[in-house]
């Protein structure tokens, strides 16, 4: 009786193991990573390139600044689109550029005024000296 039960138990265990193996071999559930990389959006970094001349010194700060300013201006020019014109963003940008231009013009005018005064003074001095002579 006991042996019979033992054999029966063994048979059931074998069957259970077989069915579990069947389950794991046929299932195809896949683990989800929180943010798995999309193979289509991955971009390779460009390889490092040696500079043309190793003895070359880096550009001075002023040169760098002027270079970046030029870049900014060119970017601003390129930023203008038909969409900007239609949405009215261009007018705002124009206003900002006008304000900046006005500031620069005022500075130039002030400098010119100072120069004129200096010139007038020098001319007057010249005249005085001539008269005195």
């Amino acid at each position: 009786m006991f042996l019979g039960n033992l054999k029966m138990g063994k048979f059931i265990i074998i069957k259970i193991i077989f069915s579990l193996v069947l389950l794991f071999s046929l299932l195809s559930c896949s683990k989800l990573t929180p943010k798995s990389a999309n193979e289509y959006t991955v971009t390779k970094k460009t390889p490092l390139v040696m500079p043309p001349d190793m003895n070359m010194t880096p550009p001075s700060n002023e040169k760098q600044k002027s270079f970046y300013n030029k870049k900014r201006i060119s970017k601003k020019i390129n930023d203008f689109n038909i969409e900007n014109i239609l949405t009215g963003e261009l007018t705002n940008k124009n206003k900002i550029i006008k304000r900046k231009k006005n500031k620069v013009n005022k500075k130039i005018e002030y400098k010119n005024k100072l120069n004129r005064k200096k010139l007038v003074k020098t001319i007057l001095r010249m005249k005085e000296s001539v008269i005195l002579k």
């Binding site: 029966m8 059931i12 069957k15 259970i16 069915s19 579990l20 069947l22 389950l23 794991f24 071999s25 046929l26 299932l27 195809s28 559930c29 896949s30 683990k31 989800l32 929180p34």
Partner: protein
């Protein structure tokens, strides 16, 4: 006399088998279309259930998914052979309970095998999660297989003990 006939419910069982495969494939195609329109981003259905699009080239829990082309052919052949074998056993078996459980397992296995052959991997789209803990994504074929195995285990453990 009728009970001894091995293919008594042949057409019924075959119809269930085909229906299971059609159901599985139809859901996969439908989900693929929905996901294509949604740029393959997961859709939240319930606070604990998402619809995602994952292609599994391996077996359960994404195991052996880096095997390449050999892996694809091996697993598709394996699941196809096991599926057909189980279908034949189900057709030959007299017990209705075992028949249905084996049919479910074979239907799921063949459904996944078809995916492996046509798409190169099984499409999983059901994603159950609790906060950040995600259960591996699965599909309808996996549900069929699990249901069939549970029925088989139930039959092995409980019914055998009841009969003595």
């Amino acid at each position: 006399m009728n009970n001894s006939y091995p293919f008594k419910y042949f057409y019924e069982l075959l119809a269930i088998f085909v229906l299971l495969i059609i159901l599985d494939q139809a859901t996969k195609i439908l989900i693929a279309k929905i996901m294509f329109n949604n740029k393959f981003e997961s859709i939240e259905i319930l606070p604990f259930l998402n619809l995602t699009f994952v292609r599994n080239t391996g077996i359960s829990f994404g195991l052996f998914s880096d095997g390449g082309l050999l892996n694809r052919y091996f697993f598709s052949a394996l699941s196809m052979i096991i599926g057909t074998m189980l279908l034949i056993i189900a057709l030959l078996n007299k017990d209705r309970f075992i028949q249905i459980s084996l049919l479910f397992i074979s239907g799921g296995a063949v459904g996944n095998a078809i995916d492996r052959i046509y798409f190169g991997g099984v499409i999983d789209f059901i994603d159950f999660f609790l906060y950040n803990l995600h259960w591996p994504a699965f599909n309808l074929a996996d549900i069929f297989i699990t249901f069939g195995v549970i029925l088989l285990l139930f039959e092995n453990v409980f019914r055998k003990f009841k009969n003595g």
